[in-house]
Symmetry: C2
Subunit: 135 residues, 2 copies
């Protein structure tokens, strides 16, 4: 009668919950020190407390890191299996980031084989361009 991994994913610790809530309600990706500044009133004082929570949230797939921006957004895509398959579009003017949810794309990438016939279990894809507003 163990607790499954799925169940565990829903029981965030105190710091994890505070930081997830902040990221989840944000309309844009947040940087670690922006997060730190915003949660200091809740008792989280040190960078490490933020980075530890971020690491865990990324690990369980609740948030993703936008590598080219060193920033974090909440996952809104049920099909990215625990952070293993992520794709984003990034506007180079306003910096708006949107998670891409495309069955075709994820299928294509999950099945992609390199020259040696090797498949990869995990990927991150970042598209760049101009969003509707900024065109």
């Amino acid at each position: 009668m163990g607790i499954s991994k799925i169940d565990k994913m829903q029981n965030l610790s105190k710091n994890q919950q505070i930081i997830f809530d902040l990221i989840d309600k944000s309309s844009e990706p947040l940087k670690a020190y922006t997060i730190l500044f915003n949660v200091q009133k809740k008792g989280i004082k040190a960078p490490l407390q933020v980075y530890r929570a971020l690491d865990k949230l990324v690990e369980i797939g609740k948030i993703h890191k936008i590598e080219s921006r060193n920033a974090f957004i909440a996952c809104h895509n049920s099909s990215c299996q625990v952070a293993k398959a992520t794709a984003f579009s990034i506007c180079e003017i306003c910096e708006k980031v949107t998670e891409i949810s495309s069955a075709g794309l994820s299928k294509y990438l999950a099945n992609f084989k390199d020259k040696d016939g090797m498949k990869y279990s995990k990927y991150n894809l970042e598209f760049f361009g101009l969003c509707k507003k900024c065109r």
Copy 2:
């Protein structure tokens, strides 16, 4: 009788050439401060000198930044149009990075449209897994 952009790409400045040579002959991606350490004997003393050369080399497509690793490798792929379309495989154990050269993949991604029918002019894709040696 102007000099074309292609020609310009081959005339690197002194610092750019020193830093490109180092990256080009490296068997692994190099980090900015590793580069700095290695070119100090050649008179490049400050981080900014390195970052400026790196920025330029990325811009003209001679090198690429591996975003998830904050490291740089030389481009060995004639088909990545001036750094606008890059794909890499990264071994999560030995950290070996290989640039992927796949006409199918680049065609698929160059033509990918999101839900709004929008195409993107630029992308970076990083695959993660275990390389042959580390399996």
